[in-house]
Point group: C2
Chain length 109, copies 2
């Protein structure tokens, strides 16, 4: 595993769906870059045994976490604690890039 990475080297979008590009992965955590075209979403889901953090690198996203909903822009950050349903929407007009940390990595991938 490379120890040093540039966000720009991991920024890749696709017209079909939001992309999850891995930056780092260990037994204890993973760190991905999520890239959303306008209109793309991460559908709400739950991890019972993992916590996730989203940091907005570029663009704006609408975050749903449990009963809460908030639109965040660059240099804003959110936590989805284990057991809480969470999802993200890019309602545009810009592309959305998120740095995402999760601990531990869920067993299902």
């Amino acid at each position: 595993m490379e120890k040093f990475r540039k966000i720009s080297d991991a920024t890749r979008f696709a017209p079909e769906k939001m992309q999850k590009n891995n930056l780092f992965k260990t037994e204890r955590m993973y760190c991905d870059l999520y890239c959303f075209e306008p209109g793309q979403v991460q559908a709400p889901h739950v991890h019972e045994e993992s916590d996730k953090i989203y940091f907005v690198v570029d663009g704006r996203g609408l975050f749903q976490i449990g009963e809460d909903e908030m639109e965040l822009g660059a240099e804003e950050i959110a936590i989805a604690p284990s057991g809480q349903k969470h999802g993200v929407s890019n309602r545009g007009p810009e592309r959305l890039v998120l740095l995402v940390f999760m601990a531990p990595k869920p067993a299902h991938g």
Copy 2:
């Protein structure tokens, strides 16, 4: 715990030493903002059972991880895997702000 935070609200420096300002904390991970004035350092140290990720929000830092050394700027990221000595120096002239993730949170604090 607040689910949504702004980096700017957690950015606090001190003349005595680099500041670690917590953003989120769970049983599985923590997420801090580290704020370095020019000349301030995080001395090299080791966590045998935790992995740490550093993301540069602002400024430039010199990162030592194991046998590797690299200067990183904004939107660059590094991992210090468990068992590898790691440290950071802000050689200036700008202030350095790092987003730091660790999993799991070490027992000693």
